[in-house]
Each structure stands twice: as structure tokens, then as C-alpha cells.
């Protein structure tokens, strides 16, 4: 058994878990955060993507023990109260989903992608960066549209903030 302590969506959590416990199972079963999905369970589909210390990772391919001491953000931690995160809002606005199963991973990947490209994104980059996320409904068209819209929205907001600060 391993004693693991993490900060998940701003909340400090500790538990004693089997060493083989995957991070995704810890999130879903110990913490009840079932927004993070298990799709393929073979590191391919990206439905399980969460942020560990600010970086998007596949939580089905990491042990909870490996993440001990880290800060984790899941889909449940993105919104600011009742206000959707800009990426969530853009997926809603652009209908970037059909069945919704891949959506938590898509949104966590998109948020990470936008954070890593503060200069903005183009369609080719978005499609290349989505290599690790599989959607079997949409053909990706509206997902790409949503991410581009969110990227633009967030860069505008970022500039707004910078102006305010200045």
C-alpha cells in the first residue's frame, strides 16, 4: 500500500491505496470524480486526460503513487463556480460534441494546448495536437472550431487582463 497525498481541484486529499492503483481509478473511485473517463484503457483515446502539475497527461497510464505530491486538475475543476471555463463555453457554443464521452479529455487537452500556444493556434496545429484524443462521433470538425474559438477568446481575455494590469 502507498500513502498518497495530492491537491485535486484545489482540495488536499490523502488516502492509502494499493501501489498498482491508476490515477484515473483513484480520481473516479476514491474521490468520486467521475468526469474523467476511461475509454480505451490502452493510452490511446485520451478520454482520461487530466492536468498533473499543469501538464496534460493520460491518467490511465500513471499510478496514483507516481502523482503523489502533485497538483491535479480534472474536468470538475475547470469552471469558476457557475461560470464555465472559456474552453467549456466554446465546446457548448460550437457544439463540439455528440455523445460527450470523449469531451472531458478533449477539453482538458484543449486547455493544455491553448496554454502551450499563447501566441494563438491555427487549424493544422489543433488537428496535429489532437493526435492523442479520439472522438468517434463528430469527425472533429466542431471540436477544432471550438478550440480555435476558445483560443481566440482566451488570448483576448489575456490581453484585456494585461491592459488592466498596466
Amino acid at each position: 500500500m502507498s500513502d498518497v497525498s495530492l491537491t485535486v481541484n484545489g482540495r488536499k486529499v490523502s488516502a492509502s491505496v494499493e501501489d498498482r492503483t491508476l490515477l484515473v481509478h483513484f480520481l473516479r473511485e476514491n474521490l468520486g470524480l467521475t468526469g474523467t473517463h476511461v475509454g480505451c484503457d490502452t493510452s490511446q483515446c485520451g478520454a482520461c486526460v487530466v492536468h498533473v502539475d499543469g501538464k496534460a497527461v493520460k491518467s490511465c497510464t500513471m499510478l496514483a503513487a507516481q502523482a503523489s505530491g502533485s497538483t491535479v486538475v480534472t474536468i470538475e475543476g475547470l469552471a469558476d463556480g457557475a461560470d464555465l471555463h472559456p474552453v467549456q463555453a466554446a465546446f457548448k457554443e460550437n457544439h463540439g460534441l455528440q455523445c460527450g464521452f470523449c469531451t472531458p479529455g478533449m477539453i482538458m487537452s484543449a486547455t493544455d494546448m491553448i496554454n502551450r500556444h499563447p501566441q494563438g493556434l491555427d487549424e493544422a496545429t489543433v488537428r496535429a495536437e489532437l493526435e492523442g484524443n479520439i472522438c468517434r462521433c463528430t469527425g472533429y470538425h466542431n471540436i477544432v472550431k471550438a478550440i480555435l474559438a476558445a483560443s481566440e477568446e482566451m488570448s483576448k481575455a489575456g490581453k484585456g487582463k494585461a491592459k488592466k494590469a498596466a
Binding site: S2, E18, D19, R20, L22, D41, T42, S43, G46, V49, K55, A56, V57, K58, T61, M62, L63, A65, Q66, S68, S109, D112, M113, R116, E129, E131, G132, N133
Partner: protein, 265 residues
């Protein structure tokens, strides 16, 4: 996954000590080992996590000498500005391993310790004539990669880093499998002070290898046009459901042309 005991090593010496427990395996990014454990293809009794060891992390560039710590992630290699200024080809290679999430976890040490025959880094290190540094010795890339998933590493030996001299020119091009993104054939070309070295991954039955016909042609003229009409033998190349040995032999030449074009760009 079978039951396992997880240990977080605080130093290389600590990791070497912990690895003596049962049937222990070193765990780096875990992008191959954890899936292998989930399918029970691997069943170590103990895992020794190397990724929290500070001395295994980071990239230093001093003049043309590059050193990359074993626990440095693909994303870190891809994004390192100093490395990009002296050897952009290795950054390009790292930026095309797996997907963004895999690149956030997977490490160069883990990749070369596993030596998957379709992994990208072995081609780079062999073409760059790199030295693999372990907690016990230094091994030249020529002697390090010994076969399919086989390396010169001994029991309990840890890849602490790799080092190489940035060549005047280098390029990498791969034909990724459309599903897995592993290289069906990947070619790394380097033109340095010791001449032209060309290493091929994803194609050889025994893993990464140097292609002499391509090296000979590029030594005459380091240009894609020099490879017109050059062919490589299909003997010793892999045939599987993805491609025949003959198809891969053709891909070696095509990828080499693209790699040289990238190196000269």
C-alpha cells in the same frame, strides 16, 4: 495489473539500491511499462521511480556539446531553445513522438532503455554517434543498441543521460504508422566532423541500424538528389501486417531523402 510495490528513488544511488528488491524494474515516464503491466506482459514485483531524481533531469548545451538527462521528457527536449539552436533535428524528433500527453511523461532514458525497434530516439543517438552515460560507465551508441528491445545495459544499470556533439547538419523524417504513430520507418541523417551517419528505426529485424548505401551516397553529396536511384536491400528488414520488407526498403530511401532535405533547409 498484478500487484506491485512502488518506490520513489531520491538519488541514482538510492535507485540502484532499491532495484535489488525482488524482480524490480526501473520506472521512468511509464509510457511503455505501465501499459505493458496493465496487459500483464510485464509483471515486476517492484517499481523504482526515477523521475523525481533531480540529477537525471535537464538539458545542458555547452558550445556544441549537448547533454540530456535520462529523466528528461520528450516535451522538454522538443521545447528547449538552446538545443533547438544547435540541433533542431532532435527537437523535431521529440516533438513527433506519440502525442502531447505521452510527450509530457515519456523520457529519453526510458525510451532508449526499452529500445523498441520502432522508437525514434535510437535512430537519433546512433546517427549522432552519441554516448550513453549510465551510473556505471559510458557506452557508445554503436555498442549500446544490441537488438530488439535489447541493449548493453546490465542488471541494475541506470541510463543517467546521453551526450553528443551537435553536428553541422542533421534531419529526421519518419513514416508513422497511421494508428500507433510509431515509426514504420524513420531515418535520422547527420553530417558531422566524422562524416555522414544515417540510422534507420522501425524497419530492421534487429532494431535500429546504420544504412551503408545511403551513407555512401550522401558522403559524396549531402543532398536528396544524391539518393536518386539508390536502393537498400530488403534482407534483414521487418515484414508484418503493416508493411513488407520491400516496402520498408523503399521507405528507407524516401525517408532519407526527406531527412536530408530537412537537414539542408
Amino acid at each position: 495489473m498484478y500487484s506491485v510495490n512502488y518506490h520513489r528513488a531520491s538519488s541514482v544511488a538510492d535507485a540502484a539500491k532499491l532495484s535489488k528488491k525482488g524482480d524490480a524494474k526501473f520506472l521512468s515516464g511509464g509510457m511503455t511499462l505501465i501499459p505493458a503491466m496493465k496487459t500483464r506482459l510485464a509483471a515486476p514485483s517492484d517499481l523504482v521511480d526515477l523521475t523525481y531524481i533531480a540529477e537525471l533531469k535537464g538539458i545542458t548545451v555547452s558550445g556544441k556539446t549537448v547533454t540530456i538527462g535520462g529523466a528528461t521528457t520528450h516535451a522538454e527536449v522538443a521545447a528547449n531553445a538552446k538545443l533547438k539552436s544547435v540541433c533542431p533535428a532532435i527537437c523535431h524528433l521529440a516533438a513527433h513522438i506519440g502525442d502531447p500527453h505521452v510527450r509530457h511523461r515519456g523520457t529519453i532514458g526510458g525510451s532508449i532503455a526499452n529500445n523498441d525497434p520502432a522508437a525514434d530516439y535510437p535512430a537519433a543517438l546512433l546517427a549522432l554517434s552519441a554516448t550513453i552515460v549510465t551510473n556505471k560507465r559510458e557506452i557508445s551508441a554503436d555498442k549500446y543498441f544490441t537488438g530488439l528491445f535489447e541493449t548493453a545495459l546490465k542488471e541494475g544499470e541506470i541510463v543517467t543521460g546521453v551526450t553528443f556533439t551537435a553536428p553541422a547538419k542533421a534531419g529526421y523524417s519518419k513514416f508513422p504508422n497511421p494508428a500507433s504513430r510509431y515509426a514504420m520507418t524513420g531515418v535520422f541523417v547527420a553530417k558531422g566532423k566524422d562524416g555522414v551517419r544515417v540510422a534507420v528505426t522501425g524497419a530492421g529485424e534487429d532494431g535500429v541500424f546504420r544504412s551503408k548505401p545511403i551513407e555512401a551516397a550522401l558522403a559524396k553529396k549531402f543532398d536528396a538528389a544524391a539518393l536518386e536511384g539508390v536502393s537498400v536491400p530488403s534482407a534483414g528488414l521487418m515484414s508484418d501486417l503493416h508493411a513488407s520488407a520491400e516496402y520498408r526498403a523503399n521507405l528507407v530511401v524516401v525517408m532519407a531523402k526527406r531527412a536530408v532535405a530537412a537537414a539542408n533547409a
